[in-house]
Subunit: 510 residues, 2 copies
């Protein structure tokens, strides 16, 4: 029963000043609440739900998605949007304008794809994910080739329908799904330039690292005790347990919404830092969600902008903040207090552990220097697959060749090659680039925040000041502008690689 | 995305053979899935949700409820129902007929109450529950009197609107909310007769109990170890952990739906049997939900019939089955194995513990003999409050007088008097009777099931045979008939007190 929390998510008075605007706000509030519910159910599915309930939960989520879709494609929606724009023309409010823009975008996308294409894609993806699990477990790429071909065909048709409605290319339509407005024409040159730089500096980084004292591997710690440390770290970074939870799951993720944000991690008894860094990462995602403007919580303009800025916030916490002296000193003291003094828990060693560079086969284990090369490879190959320039049967070979070329490693089997990620079999083409773009944005934002602190006569960057800056410039901006607009306003420039390159040199070569 | 679990919840082919029938089935499938989602969210709210998310969750649940309401009051619903009845007239299928009947009932109720009355009731209840928590904590009835008056006024208006639409009395409209078709004219004479019997036999029961060897109180057991025993007991009784969970919560409850049923309990280190009996109780609720017909899962006819049969199944497990020699022998062995041999864990002592009769002040701690007197008191007083025959200010006195009269106990304070239950401040008038009616139904059903087993040449009743009988005669019947119809078909008689009276004599006076 409501009447209670209404206020927290209510738009500022006067934002939608007219009957059409108010009607639209009510419809999109319903959509927002359905999404919030879906996110709780998604969390439950991966953390709490009994295994036998998978099909039931699938039906429930499909129904909720359909209900959102039904609202967006209602026949009177176009007229309502026109009328609301008319109402708002007299005294335009920038947030309400952004809200109307996002509403139009959502309606355009919902109306773009015939339902038979959606069903075909959902079916292909369900089969693709199932085939991937088996193929990966048995290291049999051939078992996934057919299902992956079907996924690519379905994604192609779906993306073409989106592209036609938006007047853009197929790949741009896919990029737009994960970060509205992202364009291949901007991204690809950025990636190529970045790869050149990395390949140029990597040998020297490895040389210097070999000559420096090696990091001391931490002792094993029982996972239950790691969980306490993880909770303390999340709280230290600003995670609010009155409005959130931390649980364990197979793969770390963040779900929930502003007011109820839930993060997960996994613990490895033999490698205590991996669980802690994963918690720092998810805490970054959580702080973004928790920092969205409460007044716009239930409207499109109040949503997180996209995967680029989301990933920027998680990487900011995991990489930039976890290297700050203030954070490392606190963590060193906390871990030594919990687990007993040990050389591994010194701040200097924690920094060394967080800065090791090791060219390897597995993307999720990669360091920040080599990670962009993993993404470049995937971006190239997924474009080729979609364009039909690369046959699915030739994927393992192309993967191995390019890994060797970019990272100098030999791919011993497909499990450690093109079977390692679930993204393609689950239809997520266009997603990979956001990882590297997020890493670039993280550094660009950190540099600007730290520069602001310094310019204001402050001392060295501290995590609280940096995060408060992110709250004002990124979290609070929500979807009031596009990604480049938010970055431009916050840092004075659109997304670029200059700050990242400076960071690599400063961190690894000085 | 769906296409996967669809089959499990699909109606038998041909059940709704016509366009109107199929359209209705689709609308009510959506309603069913929303309810399933609400039940998961309700579980989450009480077991997992961070405290600060209460208002947000309230908004989400209110939105989902409104979406269900919107479907039920759609302007074309009456025409669709008429058309579907026409389609079904040629070859009537009893389940589909029941489904249409339930659909009509839901639409009638949804359309009966103007939304301002619903809002007024929701507001009064929110304030009433809050006032109750404070009043109970401080033992200050006066702090709850005003809010309770407001709840009663709101419930009265709401019930009158329902009563007008259904052509019944105000109290019958309330009873009907918890058990469709329940009538005061049937219930009240049953309660009076039962109270006479109980008050007549109670002195002799207490006398015999005083003369018999007392039950040995079990030793304290850490709650974590109790949880393992609780899990084992639930599984022994047939709870399927592949499709369900057992967690801890402040008050035990059952939520979720067929395919994903979730029960909770609370543990008391000093009283290990209380948590175990609560688990047996909730397992009974869970087995009912899990035993509903899968093919009708997403339709009104597939829902549990009402609170009377629901409570009958929980009490059957907690009381009837937990006294069967086969169950007690298993439990005695299991507990001794887990916690070490002790006189308290003998089957005979467990039976004695489960059969103690102690007239007391608190309903939720009452034994099965005195429990109906607690309910009689509440039923009388809630009718008087609703009718205006009892002023709220006079409630504490009336409560104390009647407790003394019925149970011979003196009420020392309102916390142990009329402040002990949340039902009235939360607007649940008409709910209390289902507890006693459920207890009568439990014994009536158990007697019939055991009789069937005996008549078939079987040995003494065993829990698996009894539960299989319940599955066929109660769980599987879902809402295909009303409560009395299901009891008539299962036991040969509508709900009555004869079996219960026989049970009391056989258990406590022979």
């Amino acid at each position: 029963m409501s009447g209670t929390g209404q206020e927290a998510g209510a738009m500022p008075p006067g934002a939608a000043d007219g009957p059409a605007g108010r009607a639209l706000a009510a419809r999109f509030r319903r959509i927002a609440r359905l999404r919030q519910v879906e996110r709780v159910l998604g969390w439950d599915q991966r953390v709490m739900m009994p295994a036998g309930a998978a099909a039931l939960r699938g039906d429930q989520l499909a129904e909720l998605e359909l209900m959102r879709q039904d609202i967006l494609v209602a026949p009177d929606m176009a007229d309502l949007l026109d009328a609301a724009e008319g109402e708002a023309a007299a005294a335009p409010d920038p947030w309400w304008q952004a809200n109307l823009r996002e509403m139009r975008r959502m309606c355009r996308q919902a109306g773009a794809v015939p339902s038979d294409l959606l069903v075909a894609k959902a079916r292909a993806v369900a089969a693709g994910e199932m085939a991937w699990r088996a193929a990966r477990a048995e290291d049999r790429f051939d078992a996934m080739a057919g299902p992956l071909r079907a996924v690519i065909d379905a994604v192609r048709d779906w993306a073409d329908a989106l592209a036609a409605a938006q007047g853009c290319s197929r790949y741009d339509a896919l990029l737009d799904q994960y970060d509205p407005g992202a364009k291949a024409a901007t991204i690809l040159p950025l990636f190529a330039d970045l790869a050149d730089t990395i390949r140029q500096v990597l040998p020297e980084i490895l040389e210097r690292q070999a000559a420096a004292p090696p990091a001391v591997q931490p002792p094993a710690v029982p996972t239950a005790r790691q969980a306490d440390a993880a909770r303390a770290l999340a709280a230290f970074l600003g995670f609010d347990f009155r409005h959130g939870r931390l649980d364990e799951s197979l793969h770390p993720f963040t779900s929930g919404s502003l007011g109820d944000v839930r993060i997960t991690t996994r613990f490895d008894a033999g490698d205590p830092m991996s669980g802690l860094l994963a918690v720092a990462h998810e805490t970054g995602h959580a702080l973004y969600e928790a920092g969205l403007p409460a007044a716009w919580r239930d409207q499109p303009a109040g949503r997180a902008r996209g995967m680029i800025l989301h990933e920027s916030q998680s990487l900011l916490c995991e990489r930039q903040l976890m290297r700050l002296p203030g954070v490392l000193d606190w963590l060193a003291g906390d871990l030594a207090g919990r687990f007993g003094a040990a050389p591994a828990w010194s701040a200097a060693n924690l920094r060394r552990l967080a800065s090791r560079v090791i060219p390897g086969l597995i993307r999720v284990e990669a360091d920040e220097v080599t990670y962009p090369l993993h993404i470049l490879l995937r971006t190239e190959l997924e474009q080729a697959l979609l364009a039909g320039d690369l046959a699915v049967d030739d994927l393992p070979g192309a993967w191995a060749d390019r890994m060797h070329d970019l990272l100098g490693v030999s791919v011993p089997d497909d499990r450690r090659g093109c079977l390692q990620d679930i993204h393609w079999p689950s239809g997520a083409f266009g997603y990979f680039p956001t990882y590297t773009l997020g890493a670039l944005a993280a550094v660009q934002l950190f540099e600007a925040a730290a520069g602001t602190q310094k310019a204001a006569g402050g001392a060295d960057a501290d995590h609280e000041t940096i995060l408060a800056w992110m709250g004002r410039n990124v979290h609070g901006a929500a979807s009031s502008a596009d990604t480049d607009g938010i970055l431009q306003a916050a840092t004075g420039a659109p997304l670029g690689s200059a700050a990242f390159k400076r960071h690599i040199r400063a961190t690894y070569l000085t």
